[in-house]
Amino acid sequence: MNLFSLSWSYVKDKPLNTVLNVLLMSLGIAIILVLLLLNTQLEENLGKNKRGVDLVVGAKGSPLQLILANVYHIDFPTGNIKLDEAKTLTRNRLIKSAIPLALGDNYRGFRIVGTNHDYVKLYSGEAEEGRLWKNNLEVTLGANVAKRLDLKPGDEFFGAHGMSVADLTHEEASYKVVGVLKSGNSVLDNLILTNIESVWAVHDHEEEGEEHEGEHDHETEGEPAYETGFPEGDEDAEITSMLIQFRSPMGAIQLPRMINANTNMQAASPAFETQRLFSLMGIGVNMIKSFAYIIIVIAGLSIFISLYNALKDRKYDLAIMRSLGASRGKLFVHVVLEGILITFLGALLGFVLGHALVEVLAGYYEKSEEVGITGLVFVNQEWIVLLLSIGVGILSALLPALNAYRTDISKVLAQD
């Protein structure tokens, strides 16, 4: 028998009260944890995927859409830009490197991205099986794509036009899998990578097939630019965007203005746009968060009322404990401990609920896997939430504990 087991006996003795308070508390904690987990992981993953990309240049449109489509591969592209124009821009002395991207096709929901090997290096990707693409119509799969579609080197498939599953398939040219990348928790995991010429080639076939014209024929000449740089193309050749790294911070000041004002292209900064996205989401997140805090305050209030009411019946118990030798301080701690126990149980249940909820949600929405959301990680700020809950326990037990401290034993015992 000690103060802890004594307080625990009281908690157990009123199961309904305890369950109600624990549930209330856990609900508030769970909501906060869900928000915390989603927010942190989203921020972390978005941050990781924009690393090394200072500027995205693409067709005019919404800058946020440009970033979402070309860096995170979750939105539709804004359109295409002329290859020639893009190439001209890369000669600017403020640009250190530029990676071209050609989007437009998918295979069963996974995007086919025409690019060069620099794109893989950007995310420190490595081939786990096979190798990176080299010749036209060779593809290297992201780890998640290979797993979900059960593809391995040697397999072939037809891409489909557009970004969603139901679109028309290009049945003329099939891609051949030559390798699978290691999982790196980056966007690469969910992409099918090939060279830009392949994306062109597939579309040429389609155009020829449908229109029986040879006009848009941009035959690839010479070596395909699969390792670095831009491919050769005719004047009609287009790419979707390019990811740019500055040579110096001056680039951040001059380039976007120059591109937006003087060219038909648009430049958007991933850092700026994601921050804007978060501040837009922040309004909703903050509202839900306030709601969660209100629940926690109500839980604290409910614990306070239960303890306070219970104390009326318990003043004899407290007086008896004093008569058995307990000091005032011990009774104070005994009551506070009860508050802490309830909120701690609530926090524990909330912890389990919150993580389970995020995991269930992540399993329910396929997109969340692409963004890298899971309920099975521990975020550092959770400690703060745990401490907060214990603080609520102490606070709500404070007044009842003070009453316990002040119990006039003689008066209470004389009231028989």
Binding site: M1, N2, L6, S9, Y10, K12, D13, Y316, D317, A319, I320, M321, R322, S323, L324, G325, A326, S327, R328, G329, K330, I409, S410, L413, A414, D416
Partner: protein, 211 residues
């Protein structure tokens, strides 16, 4: 064993009682008589260290009860004074044995399950150790409080109307038990009561009704 020196106390502002001198020796028993409201509970609480008197000294052995600090007095009471009340005040959230272990814990003596069982057996409660307090009858509950009072081998047992809520049979059992156990532990026994059934059983009596 327990002595009172020039004690003043009042259970209300108007009525102050004073006891110039009183001594109860080891193994002696004292009955405090009086109508309800006469101050016998107040006196008992003062003797038990639960309520500070307006003036005077209470000595248990060599210890000046009100010379101790609050916390020291709580501890001293837990270890040396056994208290029995009119109603069986037990912690209902706990089992019988846990109630006794709690008494050992709160008084700062070592928790000894063997000792708790021993005391329960002495009071014919050996089979109730793991029962919740609520499952016990009134008489059984009162016996558990006696067990709790005796647990730490007190030098002084104070009982406040221990028989008031009991029928004749149980009242007799409780009084006999208190006397028997006090004798076993060589403790002084002080009972405050207005119960006529108890009156004849004790020689030493203090009547608070006489002015």
């Amino acid at each position: 064993m327990i002595s009172i020196d020039d004690l003043h106390f009042g259970y209300s502002e108007q009525k102050i009682l004073s006891i110039p001198q009183l001594e109860v020796k080891e193994s002696d028993h004292l009955l405090i008589l009086g109508k309800s409201g006469s101050g016998k509970t107040t006196l008992l609480h003062i003797l038990g260290g639960l309520l500070s008197p307006k003036g005077g000294k209470v000595l248990i052995g060599e210890t000046d009860l009100y010379g101790l600090s609050g916390t020291q007095r709580d501890k001293y009471r837990g270890q040396n004074i056994g208290l029995v009340f009119q109603k069986a005040h037990l912690i209902t959230a706990l089992t019988v044995q846990e109630n006794l272990l709690l008494a050992q814990y709160l008084s700062g003596t070592a928790q000894d399950k063997g000792r708790t069982l021993e005391v329960l057996k002495e009071l014919n409660l050996g089979d109730k150790a793991n029962k919740k307090v609520r499952k016990l009858s009134q008489g059984e509950q009162q016996r558990v409080t006696i067990a709790r009072a005796l647990l730490n081998r007190p030098r002084l047992i104070l009982a406040d109307e221990p028989t008031a809520s009991l029928d004749d049979d149980n009242a007799k059992i409780v009084i006999d038990m208190l006397k028997e156990q006090a004798a076993r532990y060589k403790a002084s026994l002080i009972i405050a009561t207005h119960d006529q059934r108890v009156k004849d059983q004790f020689e030493l009596q203090l009547n608070l009704d006489t002015p």
